[in-house]
């Protein structure tokens, strides 16, 4: 259940991807996501997916990323069954592919960007400090809550809770004893964090300086250019070629299962 969080757990590594500016990685993740949202055909989505793999390899995070995909398997299976049943198998496959693309794009971002650098990047993008801080805190606490969720699940299982017991409605209800302690302890923690922030004079000065500064380097401009070109090309294909000159697109573009 918590394996999915692995995809967002930052690990410090010395790789090309980790060395990029957070704004670059953010731009790449957003571009990939937009491209993924533009198409709902199997082959184009597969191409988008394949084009992301080199970046995962560059970030040397294959194992973590793979773990997160495994965490996604349950949801993917659900989508696959529901969509094949109500629409078509091809549609189901492409929806799952789209989900995988989105997941990969953002896990690439969260795996290679330190939460603090991310906050810094948001401030550089003229987002008010309080919001940037809240966002980076949210990211920072994901692994903490994931660990806590495991402890809570263990505690309730020790009291005889069986998650797999009963019909569908009962199965959902089985999660209540896990969800409530997570919410309660998160609220308790939020209050504690707020108090400790205030006691360390959070927000006492209007203008803040930061210890580290972010600078875009040549590699950043290079990667952004690549992402921008890819995005422009995808937008062109999706909105110009596909609508006005669909006959220009090769047959494989629309390939799908006949069911």
């Amino acid at each position: 259940m918590t394996a999915i969080f692995e995809a967002f757990r930052f690990k410090q590594k010395d790789t090309f991807m980790h060395g990029l500016d957070p704004r670059t990685t953010f731009f790449m993740a957003v571009s990939f996501s937009i491209i993924g949202m533009l198409f709902l055909q199997i082959i184009p989505l597969l191409l988008v997916f394949l084009s992301m793999i080199p970046f995962i390899l560059l970030a040397r995070s294959t194992r973590q990323w793979f773990k997160s995909l495994r965490g996604l398997a349950y949801l993917a299976g659900f989508i696959l069954i529901i969509n094949s049943f109500f629409i078509s198998f091809s549609f189901a496959i492409s929806t799952v592919l789209r989900l995988v693309v989105l997941m990969t794009a953002f896990s690439l971002f969260f795996l290679t960007v330190h939460p603090d650098d991310f906050a810094l990047a948001l401030i550089k993008m003229h987002i008010p400090y309080e919001f940037a801080f809240a966002f980076s805190m949210a990211v920072r606490y994901v692994p903490t809550i994931a660990t806590e969720t495991e402890t809570i699940r263990d505690a309730q299982m020790s009291r005889g809770l069986e998650l797999e017991r009963g019909n569908v409605i009962q199965k959902v209800r089985n999660y209540i004893p896990i969800l409530i302690p997570i919410i309660v302890s998160s609220i308790r923690r939020a209050l504690q964090v707020a108090e400790s922030l205030e006691s360390r004079a959070f927000g006492s000065t209007a203008t803040r300086t930061s210890l580290y500064d972010l600078k875009l380097r040549k590699s950043d401009y290079g990667m952004m250019l690549v992402a921008a070109v890819a995005l422009a090309f995808a937008l062109y294909v999706a909105f110009v070629v596909r609508i006005q000159f669909p006959y220009l697109l090769p047959d494989w573009f629309f390939w799908g299962f006949p069911f």
Binding site: I152, D154, S158, R159, G160, L161, I176, P177, P181, S185
Partner: protein, 268 residues
């Protein structure tokens, strides 16, 4: 009753048998594998190699929910298990999961709320209770199942002296030929008073197993497990520097008084 032979990579080469009638302490440095070991007892973790038997049942062939009838586990932080909208429902949770009859549930809930002095709050939300009360409620909600084996993970953390005293009394009441109580703790002063047998883990290996008195006055073991000896043992060691005949294995107040009396008599 409980055997453990090497397991999770965190734990290596362990072979322990716990007998009914014992209060067993489990100590060791942070990350030594204490929690990993106790989670093996109720099947939350299963050994990778070797086996764990609880009351003759192999944990690999049963589920945590099934073991919950025999093994009660009170976690460190009560907030990790309280969720119901009343104390009554909270205590009844485990009983319902284990398919007890309605009359039996009502009877046990009433008895255990009374035992932990919580009856007057029975229709309140658990979240309105104080920290100490929440801890007691967590204990009641596990004990109501009347497990043969009870595991307490750091029960003395953030408890005042009075609560510790009460806990000690409760633990004494659990010391009978039917039950096993496992206490995971860093609190040497509490352990020396509470346990009959002490296991010390260090880096996943059992480095000591025996009477708490002997172990907690053995500087080599204490050092490896990053524990400080009980204050009275430290006191005895200091005194022994001046008076070599002073016994070193002093750990409780009455022992210290006895030893000091003897010393005074011998000095006259």
């Amino acid at each position: 009753m409980f055997e453990y032979e090497s397991g999770h990579p965190v734990l290596r080469g362990l072979n322990v048998e716990l007998e009914p009638g014992q209060v067993v302490g489990l100590m060791g440095e942070n990350g030594a594998g204490k929690t990993t070991l106790v989670k093996q007892i109720n099947g939350l973790l299963k050994p990778t190699t070797g086996a764990v038997y609880v009351d003759g049942v192999d944990t690999r062939e049963t589920s945590t929910a099934q073991l919950a009838k025999k093994v009660g586990f009170v976690f460190q932080n009560a907030d990790h298990q309280l969720f119901a909208d009343s104390l009554h429902a909270e205590v009844a949770f485990a009983l319902r999961n284990l398919d007890f009859s309605k009359e039996e549930i009502d009877d046990r809930v009433a008895r255990y709320l009374e035992l932990f002095e919580l009856t007057r709050y029975k229709d309140q939300s658990p979240f309105l209770l104080s920290g100490g009360e929440r801890k007691r409620l967590a204990l009641a909600s596990v004990l109501c199942v009347e497990p043969k084996i009870l595991i307490l993970d750091e029960p003395t953390q953030a408890q005042d002296a009075l609560q510790k005293e009460k806990l000690l009394k409760f633990m004494d009441s659990f010391r009978d030929p039917e039950h096993i109580l496992v206490l995971v703790t860093h609190d040497v002063e509490f352990a020396i008073k509470a346990v009959d047998r002490l296991l010390v883990l260090s880096q996943g290996q059992l480095i000591a197993d025996g009477s708490p008195h002997q172990i907690l006055s053995n500087p080599r073991i204490l050092d490896r497990a990053r524990l400080l000896p009980p204050q009275l043992t430290q006191f005895a060691h200091k005194l022994a520097e001046q008076f070599p005949e002073f016994p070193l294995n002093v750990a409780t107040v009455s022992e210290a008084v006895e030893a000091v009396n003897q010393l005074i008599r011998s000095q006259r």
